[in-house]
Structure formats: C-alpha cells, structure tokens
C-alpha cells in the first residue's frame, strides 16, 4: 500500500500548508512555498486544502503507486508520464494500482506540487506534516524523501466525479511574473534615500543559494548606509542591528551586498538589518524563481499591498467555486 519512492528527485519534501505559531521559538512555519499551487492540487483531487503532498524542486522523483488513487500536479512546468504516457498538469488524474509516475526536466518555474487523494499520512508534528529540514522533523523523519521510502496515504476513497477535474487556463497562476512587490519599512532608515531608489531601479538575479530558508539575489550595487555610531550590542558592520525577530518575506542585506528574502523555513531572528518585506500576495511567486532569473523589486504602499491580498483571496475563491461546480 502507499506510494513507493523509486527515485527521490533533488530535494523532494512532504509539505502541507504549514506549521504557524512556533516562530517565536525559532521553529518556522514551513509548508509549501507556493501555497496557491499546493491548495489547487489538493482541491483537484478532492482533498482538504491543508492535506500533505510533495514539494518537488528542480528535478522530479519517480514514484510507484501501490494503491489506486487520484493525483494532481501543479506549480512549475515539469512534464510527467504515467507508465510512459504523457499527462497534463493542473488536472486530476486517475492512477491504477502499480502505475509509475516519472518526470521530465524542468521547463519553467522551480517547484511542482503533487497531491494524492487521501493526502500523505505521516504523523503530525506540532500540528503539521510539513518537513522542516534544519530541525530534522516533520514529513519523512525530518528529511527529503529517499529511494525505498513508502509514503503512507490517508483514506483513499475518491469520488468518480472528481476524475478529470481541471482549471481553465485563465485561472492558472502566472509563474512567469518577474516583478516582486515590496513594502519598504522595518530598518530601511539605515539606508540613504539614493540607495533605496537604486535598489528598486536595478535588475537583481537569483543566486544559487535559493532554498526554503531564503532566496539570495546578486547583481545590483552595494547599498549605502546612513552613518552612525554603532549602538551597543549591534556589532560594528553598518548592516548590523541588535539582533531582532525577522518577518517572513523580509529582505535582509548582509554587509549591504546581496539581498536575501526569508521564506517559509527562515531563521526567526538575527543581527542583519532588513529594508522591508515582500507582500504576502507575492510570496508564492518567489517559490517559482529559478537561479539566474532576473527580477525587479517594486515599491508599493500598504493600501496597494492589501488590494493585492484581496485580489489573491478573490482568485482563490473563484477557483474553489469552479472546481466544486465542475
């Protein structure tokens, strides 16, 4: 029973929507980096949106299904085959017992989400099945899945009416967005006005250090700091602050050179200044950025951030309605 892992892929982890509430202890919320893609994958197979699935990054796993079920694959564009037959993403697919799922190479985006009817039924840890790699817990014993693992499934009595459910193209998230919206703030007073406008006018390129903890960017000019006498306890570098709590999505720039956006497995605190935070509506977009992708940070205000948030809620509502009525 369950799903046998024949090949693991680069770093395939079990994720649900996450484990909020423990960041004040240094345990991040984890969960799918592209939350919308994970939610849609679950809806397509008839799961609760918070069911655990697989987050697949850059290269896909090979999986054998030892029980019949429904699957859906969303997020990045990474073609896949079931027993050698090509299938489409963003729709629910019936899988017979014994069939094997294989992925081709990544075409666009960075992370795919695989949802299986019943969900992956590993134990809940602090209320979530998400894998937190640094803390070595959650998911499959706190590590990525490995060849030989058997992923246990929850009750798998899917409805025949669920087979073939899909989304119209206009409802699919656009994973090709190259503008990341930012609310300037936090410790931005450490920077000169000129340096702030330079930051928002330049192209930044995703560096190779881009993972669940954070996304690093290169290519822009070093930031200029307002002069100061280092406050007691802060440290001597102009980018240092008295260590404080970090916000998800906040952008820190150690020594003023390479911005890092903290994502869902972030460290909870540290001694680098942050210049603001990516708005909640754009966090999913970061999950789909490959290294070497060029992006631009766009400065917006709180009202625009709330509008973007409301649009995102409305889109998700429309998707729920479409899937349940189709």
């Amino acid at each position: 029973m369950g799903v046998k892992v024949l090949n693991s892929g680069l770093s395939t982890t079990i994720q649900d929507l996450g484990r909020p509430g423990y960041f004040h202890l240094g345990i991040p919320m984890s969960g799918a980096m592209d939350q919308k893609a994970m939610r849609i994958a679950n809806l397509l197979v008839g799961n609760p949106e918070n069911a655990a699935g697989l987050e697949i990054v850059f290269t896909g796993p090979t999986l054998r299904f030892d029980e019949a079920c429904l699957i859906a694959i969303t997020g990045a564009e990474m073609p896949f085959k079931l027993d050698g037959v090509s299938q489409s993403s963003w729709q629910s697919i019936q899988v017979e017992k014994g069939q094997t799922l294989e992925f081709d190479y990544l075409r666009a985006g960075a992370r795919c989400y695989l949802s299986i009817s019943g969900g992956i039924n590993v134990p809940l840890v602090l209320g979530s099945r998400s894998t937190y790699l640094v803390g070595s817990f959650g998911g499959m014993h706190g590590r990525p899945i490995a060849a030989g693992d058997i992923l246990p499934l929850g009750r798998c009595d899917f409805m025949a009416s669920q087979v073939g459910k899909n989304l119209p193209t206009k409802m699919l998230p656009n994973i090709g967005v190259r503008e990341i919206r930012v609310l300037l703030g936090l410790y931005s007073y450490r920077l000169t006005e000129g340096s702030i406008s330079t930051f928002f006018s330049e192209k930044w390129v995703v560096a190779s250090e881009a993972d669940r903890m954070g996304y690093r960017f290169k290519g822009g000019q070093a930031l200029e700091f307002v002069e100061r006498k280092a406050p007691f306890g802060a440290g001597s570098d102009p980018s240092n602050i008295v260590d404080s709590s970090y916000a998800y999505g906040s952008i820190q720039v150690p020594s003023g050179t390479e911005p890092i956006i903290l994502h869902r497995d972030a460290v909870s605190a540290g001694g680098y200044f942050t210049l603001g935070a990516v708005i909640s509506a754009d966090m999913d977009l970061i999950a789909q950025l490959q290294p070497n992708t060029s992006i631009q940070f766009v400065s917006i205000d709180m009202d625009q951030a709330l509008l973007a948030r409301a649009e995102r809620v409305a889109e998700m509502k429309e998707i729920r309605g479409y899937i349940s009525n189709s």
Partner: protein
Amino acid sequence: MGSRFTFGGDEHLLVECADEMSMRSFFKSLSAAQLIKKSPLVGLDEINAGNASYLIKFNPDFIKPAELLSEIKKIDRIAENSVPVIETRVVEIPVFYKDPWTHETGMRFRERHQDPTVTDLEYAASLNGYATVEEFINAHHSSPWFVSMVGFVAGCPWLYQMVERQYQIEVPKYLRPRTDTPRHTIGHGGCFACIYAVQGAGGYQMFGVTPVPIFDPLATHSHIDESMVFFRPGDIVKFRAISSHEYDAISADVRDGIFSLKTIPVEFDLREFEENSSNYNRALLDKLDGS
C-alpha cells in the same frame, strides 16, 4: 529614543524599543509581548519578543493595519511604565570550555576569522582585556545571563550577561560565517552569548559546548516540553565550568534518560537588580546552590 513602529509587509508590525541593547529595553519588549497576548485584540497570529524589539504577525483580514498600529502604540506606552518584575527560573547549564570539537571547527574555518593565528577563546580574552583565557572563562561563567531572545534555528537562546556594561563581553562575529558549528556550542557575537541548538552554519565565536540538549524533536528528554524547545525569554542561566570527564558523565546520563537539570523558580525585580547587581546576582546564585 521612543519606540519605533514600522510594518514588515502586510502581515507584520515591528516595534523597536531602542536601537541599543539594555536590560530596560529587554524588559519593555517582554512586558509589551505579555500585554499584547492578554489583550482582546483579534487577528494576531504570533508575537516574537526579544532583546530590544518585538514583532507581531497579524492577519489584515481581521484587523486593519492602522487600527493595529494605534492599539499597539497604546500598549507600548503601558509597557514602558509596567513594573519590571517577572516570575522566572534560574537554570544551571554545565559547559565544557576549551573542548576539542569547537577547537577543531575553529581551526577548520581559521581563514574566516579576524585573527587566524589564535583560537576564538584567546582572541576574545585579549579583546576584552583579560590576561589569560582562564580569567576570561571565569568571567563568562561566574555571573548569570538573561535569555533575552529565543529563535534563530530550533530554539537557540540569545543570552545577555547580568553585569554592568563595562564588564560585558563583546566580540565581533566571524568575518564570514562558518558552514559548520558543533551542536550545543556556546557562542558569542556582539554582546550576546548563544547556544547552538543543532549543528549548522554560524558566525559567533566559539568558547565551549554543553552536554545538555535544548531542542528535542523526538520528545526523548524529560526537561523539554512538547514545544520541543527548552528556553524561554526571561530565563536566567548560570553556566558552570565542567571537565571533559564530567562532560562524558552528563552525556551518558542524557543518553540513559536519567539526566536532571538543576533549576529553581525565582522572582526577578529589575529595580533591585539595578541598585546593586553583584549582590542581587549573588543572592540568586546562593538560592541555586542551596537547592
């Protein structure tokens, strides 16, 4: 300075009580966090308090950012004037200073250090005006420390020594962070000590290791509750220097599940502490020794 209030995206509000570290700022962040937790405000997801600031994660679908800001400003003013007394605990943490593991790691990353010709302990001792490493180690463990923040990765505590500013140990972080630090390393960066909860990257100077686990994902240690994380902001820590022999003995007790931590409940009054910190510390540590 008065507190500085600023949003971090549409889901976070940061309050910086001061830009420098002090016991007063720490107590203010702690009491603000407690007041916010007790307040009837809706839409608050989490409060991370520590050192000289606190961060609120909120859901703008339930509370408008402007409304939250005005409520938090009120609470911050109350926190400014709250009585700085907390119910807490003193915990003794044994430390094997000059251990072989942090020494080996320090040597492996020597080219990332300010002074590759000396050890982290030798560097910190000389920078802080101690003639010998032994005197430095003595200063490190003779006065207690406040856990001023918890987090980083998996429950790592930041610790702020309960001594006057001129006696506080200050060291810079490594020039470039190491990619490895032994689990349970006692580190130091800026004016803060820390304990690395798990093995991993780090930039703090390394002085020793403790055999006591502080993070427990598998729920095997009786001194750590279901949150997996031992420390809380406001805990008071007394380091005790141990030998390699005692390190091995405690490690064996931990492994066999018979280790017990020396800890006592105390009330801490910042005003009395500020009147005479060395006497106040002495009384705290006498209570611990007498337990």
